[in-house]
């Protein structure tokens, strides 16, 4: 059996798979169940300071090719977050990545400060949600200045808890954004959030299917984009730890993400295509591949693509 454990921003994970934000992410019980199903760690649904209502239904639709979602980031606010995160942490299960969101730079800071009180292992900052654009305008992840400002604001307020910034693929130059948040003190980045937004029309009713009309696109087709962006960021910023997210369904997908530079691999829409046991299925497939290739430690694969020859890449 290969050793699947990895260390990300100083936090040890028994395997590189983390539940992506927004999937099965509302309660401590659900997170624990995801860990039981084989995840190495979990990410909460994006947490707001105050209660935030989502969009009316339908909020998620999917078929064999893609998923389109505009849930609208519903949340009951920080008190509920503290209760659920506290309950989860008390179980001493796998690491907790608390994902936070806000509409204004100062509110990111306040939210981060409240969430830091319960001491999650990592704080992830969602500056890239395409589904609240009507409310707040273009995501902060689309501007070098805004992305850096949010990063600085959060870093100031959370002590030594590592901060990961979740990037958007819907930008001209994702490397420039990654560089700006790294310069502003980010400990890592998550590449990437959903693409789009996209839209789907029901031709019988002549209306968009999602109540919000448009929604973020996810699923298997995202993977080549994520792989390219992760490779670009890794090449430009070899020391910046990366969570690779987007279209991961199989063990081979996860290994591909790691080879281009991801330390952790986010799995979201994969839960739809392969069921709640997807994490166990992926780690089994990683094991099988490692056996075939005689790889003893999966962490040795991180970034090997940039080495060209499969030797360990030492940043």
């Amino acid at each position: 059996m290969a050793d699947l454990s990895v260390t990300f921003c100083g936090v040890k994970f028994k395997n590189p798979l983390v539940l992506a934000s927004g999937i099965l992410g509302i309660t401590a019980s659900s997170w624990r169940n995801v860990v039981k199903n084989g995840a190495g760690g979990i990410t909460t649904k994006s947490l707001w300071l105050e209660e935030h209502r989502g969009h009316p239904n339908p909020v998620i639709i999917a078929n064999e090719h893609y998923m389109l979602n505009a849930v609208g980031v519903p949340d009951a606010g920080v008190q509920k977050a503290q209760e659920e995160c506290g309950k989860y942490l008390a179980w001493k299960s796998s690491p907790l990545i608390a994902n936070i969101i806000a509409g204004r730079v100062q509110d990111f800071g306040k939210t981060a400060e409240e969430i830091a009180k319960i001491k999650p292992h990592i704080i992830e900052v969602n500056i890239s949600c395409p589904n609240v654009e009507d409310e707040f305008g273009k995501p902060f992840a689309c501007s070098v200045g805004d992305a850096a400002a949010v990063t600085r604001e959060v870093k100031k307020r959370v002590g030594n808890i590592p901060v990961v910034i979740k990037l958007s693929p819907n930008v001209e130059n994702i490397v420039a954004i990654a560089r700006s948040v790294a310069d502003a003190g980010a400990d890592g980045v998550n590449v990437m959030n959903t693409i789009g937004p996209g839209m789907s029309i029901n031709i019988d009713t002549r209306t968009p299917v999602l109540a919000n009309k448009v929604g973020g696109l996810s699923g298997p087709a995202l993977k080549p984009l994520a792989v390219k962006y992760i490779a670009d960021i890794r090449r430009a910023l070899p020391k910046l730890p990366i969570i690779g997210t987007g279209g991961v369904l199989t063990g081979e997908d996860a290994i591909e993400m790691m080879m281009v530079g991801a330390t952790l691999v986010g799995v979201g829409t994969g839960v739809y295509y392969r069921g709640p046991q997807v994490f166990k299925k992926i780690t089994d497939e990683m094991q099988a591949w490692c056996k075939k290739e005689n790889v003893k430690r999966v962490r040795d694969l991180i970034g090997v693509f940039h080495n060209g020859n499969g030797r360990r890449f030492e940043p």
Partner: protein, 263 residues
Amino acid sequence: MDFPLVVKIKKIKQETPQTKSFVFEYPKRAKPGQFVNIWLPGVNERPMSISFDDGKNYTLAIAAAGESTRQMHALRVEDKIGIRGPYGTHYQWKDGQRIAMLPGGYGAGPTYWMATLATKCKIDFFLGARDKSLLLFADKIKKLKNVRFLPSTNDGSAGVKGFNVECWMQEMERGVKYDSVITIGPELMMYAVSKQCAKRKVPCQLSIERYMKCAFGICGNCCVDDLGITMCQQGPVVDNTLAGKIAEFGQYHRDDVGRKKEF
């Protein structure tokens, strides 16, 4: 394929002062206890138990509970609705069983449907409601040959005066033994049934309804404490052993932002 399929309503009937039934053709077959999501463009999408599947058409029995269901009540024959599903688990039975059914409200639909399929079972049907006018599908249930119809109303306007749970317990006191209990309706009613069944060691299946959005195991809004399993995929129908492990059953559920709401 989890996109709504748009169908035309063929038939609408006012069944009780609160509830209307809607009939439409649908290509996928279902089992009693499963549900669909019904979509009204521009309004909302809501989960509804399938009340009947005749092999070609579905019937939904919809009670006006709030804004979306009121808008559903305003629909007319030939209007278009979107349907996706069927989703979730269903009730199970074996030929020859003696079954007690305890439905409340729109729960009469799936239990009546099951009774039409479980022709080789002997069923005591404890339909309960506040008053006579709310006894959903009573006329149809009465006619089934495998069913002993034992209605109850809170005000005594039909059947026994009181709750259907009391009625059922009286039957058991009289020595009737059930192989299986099927309940679907208000959670506190099901909770009472669940406790009794656990105490008396009678197998029981019930339907745990939680706030649903995606209905396919992604959004997490329907996850229950402390197991963390989804009620859209691993429910709504659960057996009593599983229900016994769901700490929030009979205690609280969650709203659309995930906040706990006590029963």
